[in-house]
Amino acid sequence: MAVLARRLTTQFQLLEAPTILKPAISPQIVESEALRNLRATLEASIAAKLTSGSELVRAVARQRREEILPTTIPPLDALLGGGLARGKMTEIAGRGTRFSIVIATLAAATSIGEAAALIDASDSFDPQLAEAAGVDLRRLLWVRPQTMKETVTAAEMTGATGFQLVIIDMGSRRPPGRRVPDAAWVRLARVAESHGATILVSAPYALTGTTSEAMILAHAPRPRWLGRGNAPRVLAGVETKLKLEKHRRLRPGQTTTVFFQCEEAVGSTQAAVMTIPTADTRQPTARAKAS
């Protein structure tokens, strides 16, 4: 874990370089003389509504950059500034409840009519549970690769085809086989950028390096049980702590806690859920600031 933390810190420092973001172009610079003259001849109210082609293109691009896909998990959305950025790659790493976040994101995307692809490298997706969680299975392409290379290739292909959401889930163990070169993640990020796809990578350890827009670290979860003593127990759910390790637009270091409940205990866990903070978004600690 210490190695991982050191690596993430390095990545974060690299990402702070201002050259990565393109400087915004002032509309004044590109405003043509013809357009200026046209605006001058029109009434102010009409001229204000006049938009040139280049301005429109920039506005559409800006809108696309700012578009987000909410995960519909309020604490996580708050941590990510509203949700997963479209046209970007977001990564969730660690031992926490990553797969529950994946299922919730799939449910959010498919419920609004978007096509989603799940690259399930560990072949652990349960269609029955996903349907119960609200995933529209008709809009979900389930891909089950067997190697790391196949996983990244499948993600690239589905992203380039036009799927609005592509999720790579690496399972709970480090996948065997050779590592894919870093260039593969760069290429995947470019596919997301050029096709406006939202790519979510869920892995037990950080994979995407500097290519991802945001990186969430999911800490080890804690199960919650209903019932005490000799009384029969029921698994109520699992809570996990999430930490924003890096983000290109937001300040990293914030943490939150999310709780996922068991389907069998949905009716009986309302009280238990209420006692757990769901939007515990704290500022970074002094130690985190120092690092």
Binding site: I103, A108, S124, L137, Q164, R173, V238
Partner: protein, 554 residues
Amino acid sequence: MTRLACFYVPMFVLAARLRSEPDLLNEAVGIVEGNGSNAHIVAATRRARKKGIQPGQSLAQARSLLPKLIARGRDAECERTAQEALLEVAETFSPRVEDAGEGVVFLDVTGMERHFADFGSGESGVGSRSDEEKVTPAISDTRHPTPDSQNSEIRLARAALRACDAISLPARVGIAASKLAARVAAELPKSPIVVAPGEEATFLAPLPLTRLSPELEAAAMLQRFGLSSIGDLAKLPESEIASRLGEVGRELHWAARGIDPRPLMPRPLPPEFREGMELEWPLVALEPFLFIANAALDRLSKRMEIQGFACKRLEFTLTLDPEGYDARGIDLPAPTRDVKTMLTLMRLDLEKTPPGAPVVGFSFVAHPDRPRRAQLSLFGPSAVSPEKLATTIAKLVSILGDGRVGMPMTVDGHLPERYSINVFSPPPPPDMKRTPARARGLLAVRTFRPPIPIEVTTREAEGDDVQIASIRSIADSAPPSPAPNARNRIEAGAKVEIGGTVRICSGPWRIEEGWWSDRPDIREYWDVELERGGVYRVFRGGATEWFVDARYEM
């Protein structure tokens, strides 16, 4: 008045071969028919003809004139597919097409010239699209003024020439009111030629009699009578010709006057597309075969594109050396025209089960289907292009194998591991954007496929219930991996080591399915949290068989 067009490919035997082997286009090539001492040239490229190679020469004579002559035998498969391709091009211009064989196709173009009318430079439409060049009357029959309809017909003929060029067949085009006149017009070297309606006799008059029907012996006899042109024959009385030459002479006289009573015999649309060729030498390696197959599939794809079809099933037959055939079929997950995808699927099939003998020929048959279409929305979420989706799915299937790509489906029943995979065909997206519903926040489980057998120690609990004290995965439970390169495979559950003392145990929950059958599936499920961490779903299948089938997401 009926207007007929004729597509004619000169030296069709050679053109069909060069279509399959375009590298030979600039070489001295001769097409040979017959074996041994009977082998003789039937067609030769321009370069060979310049060196004196002529049809009818024996191969030995040709070799003595040009030792470096590349000799190729007649390939029936090439000729058949070239003829099919020519017919398909004709079908893009008219629905009524007659197959006259050997590089000749007739089509009814009555009224079709309207699609090629000149709408002026500012107009957009089919006519202006095909009319990049200005119409030059010199190319058509120049002795008569060319009205607008004839200009349109010339544009149609030029578009046909371009379409034939696109499939690598150098065709000539003639348009006239009868099949005979259209064919004669197409055979003339200056193409395209449009014969004005009612001017067939005038058009034919100056041409030599051999143009009329080279096969007829009567034509030679008429030449001996001193008749040199078709016009000379047409001037003679029909009864005199008929009395001397019989019925053949009467037909010849009609033809000389431009009268052709034969109607167009349209062919039915083919249910499949074929490509193939015979190889010069047996192929024993996969790569050279795929190199040739790539070119053939490319031609197949272009032909399907012309007709607006995509391939749903690809069948291929390999001719083996010394004898025998190997026939195979590949069902594509969705209709596609992507050559790379089809080639990859073919490669995988051949790698899986090699033919077992050298390959000396092949034939591909594509069963067409309409590609998927969808109306895209302006305001809703963008839909995935059906054609791109079909290609992607086909590629993924070729890489990952069957059953690993598709739409997940739930199966009715009580057992949690049940699922099925169907063809991914998403419904159209909504017309307007929606707001996502708030997630239910359900805890996900990671399913182990197949379930991992475990050893369990139990302790007694209240009543008849059993509580689990500890679990341990059985070491030898991992099933053998079917993949040869198992070292690089991700094995989801096979090598997961699960074990430890149970901290909290919850259960059992009983499931019974198929109670009406002889072997009902009765299970008892527990949720167990281990001291070392992790919550698992454990079930007992029989009296002593225990499994872990899922892990609560940790």
